[in-house]
Amino acid sequence: MVSLSQSDLRARYGRGPWQLVKWLLDPFALVGVYLILVTAVLERPGEAPGLALTCAVVPFQILTLTTTSSMTAVTLRRGIIANMSFPRAFLPLGTTMTETLAFAASFLLVVMMMAIYSVAPTTALLALPLILFVNLVLAVSFAYAATLFGVWLPDLRPFALSFVRALFFLAPGLIALDQIEGAANTWVRVNPFSGLFEGYRAIFLRGEVPDLWMILIPLGWACLIMAVFLPIYLREQGHFAKVAE
């Protein structure tokens, strides 16, 4: 898994000193411009809107990049899948690791936003590994489902990506949860992304430990997705070589 991720990252960012520069700039190129636009140009309500948005965009990007890469994982790795016997169950894990490492530099965006809004870090940062863990577990579950989807219905990959994007807009991504009123405030929490976004906001924006629902709902979704797709994945992986060629 480590070797697969390392190879992917090397193929993506190259070698030498520019490797680090490319890695650091990649997240800025992907979402940084959008965040700066929201923060500096557009007038948005709420507390530190740029930071609130960053707390949603960073975990979302890890999920969406993992989903995108997973859907093409078998095609991209057809060289090894069609020629070597190795545990294919590692493929989604490797993809998640690659995308997480690739996007790890995006946490600099959070730091930058905290500096812009003069939000000081608190001891709530100790809860960061927990919310990161939930983020990764959800990404892994998406990766297994997305890998299968990419193999089964390659023509519908853009629709699957649109579905993941729709989940972002149906979660408190652009607008924080405390600005959503009425029954929608309760219902929107069922979305697997809501707990994650609010968990990051609790830690970085409000300096609080995430509420239990922010951990349990995304974890519950991850377990459900894994319970459905992992057994199917394990059954189907033996036939990936036939499809990859």
Partner: protein, 246 residues
């Protein structure tokens, strides 16, 4: 561990959708219009320790499919296969190589995928460099390699996992004469140590030097199994007969 290969009624089925794209069997069951094609069917074969076997047959006969079954790349759709011993396979010249990575980086990746630990894969790099004879090219991206250089890198890398069962699909035919000598010597070493070498190809002279037994595949079935010269004679006669009747 003693090397052995045992296949009973081995069958591999390919399922294609309406656009003739391969799909998994599960997806094939869900779709209304699918076509199936057996890549291998009803193959019974047993290879014991110390044997070297050639796979003969025309294009699409099932040689590569059988090798992929032995290598654990394909899952059987019917029958059973049991392979004892560490398997090293080189089933295509570009097999597993990532063109953006250098020879050194590919050697680590392939070494790990072939069963080495990461420290073992790193420790084997000098040996891979020596045996592949790539020189400075070892530090260059594989995209700049010729077919022969890729075959040498792949071959040198899989040998580091000390395979007891060596499976090769025409890759040796891309090697230059010097490297072919090494290749024949190494194959002989594996065989005399109780291992197994299974080779598919069309270079009959090379195959006759390397193997004593041959399997003749045709239309996904095994139609002949015996001493190399006898099976080759039957294969060529049948081939010529068919060509004449056309």
């Amino acid at each position: 561990m003693t090397a052995s290969i045992r296949a009973r009624g081995a069958g591999v089925r390919f399922v294609f959708d309406r656009q003739r794209r391969p799909v998994t069997p599960a997806m094939g069951r869900l779709r209304r219009h699918c076509e199936t094609n057996w890549g291998l069917r009803g193959v019974d074969v047993e290879v014991g320790p110390g044997e070297s076997v050639a796979l003969l047959g025309g294009n699409g006969a099932g040689k590569t499919t059988l090798l992929k079954v032995m290598a654990g790349v394909y899952t059987l759709d019917e029958g059973a296969v049991a392979v004892e011993g560490r398997v090293g396979s080189l089933l295509s010249i570009n097999g597993g190589l990532m063109p953006e990575l250098t020879g050194r980086e590919n050697a680590v990746l392939l070494g790990v995928l072939a069963g080495l630990s990461r420290p073992q894969a790193f420790a084997s790099l000098e040996s891979v460099l020596q045996s592949s004879r790539l020189g400075n090219a070892f530090e260059r991206p594989v995209s700049s390699y010729s077919q022969g250089m890729r075959a040498r890198l792949g071959f040198a890398t899989i040998l580091e996992s000390r395979p007891q069962v060596l499976l090769l699909d025409e890759v040796h035919e891309a090697l230059d004469d010097d490297f072919r000598v090494d290749f024949e010597r190494i194959s002989e070493e594996i065989r005399s140590a109780g291992g197994i070498v299974v080779v598919a190809g069309h270079d009959h002279q090379l195959l006759s030097r390397m193997t004593s037994r041959a399997l003749h595949l045709k239309d996904a079935s095994l139609i002949d199994d015996g001493p190399f010269d006898t099976v080759l004679g039957g294969y060529l006669a049948r081939d010529r007969g068919e060509a004449a009747s056309r």
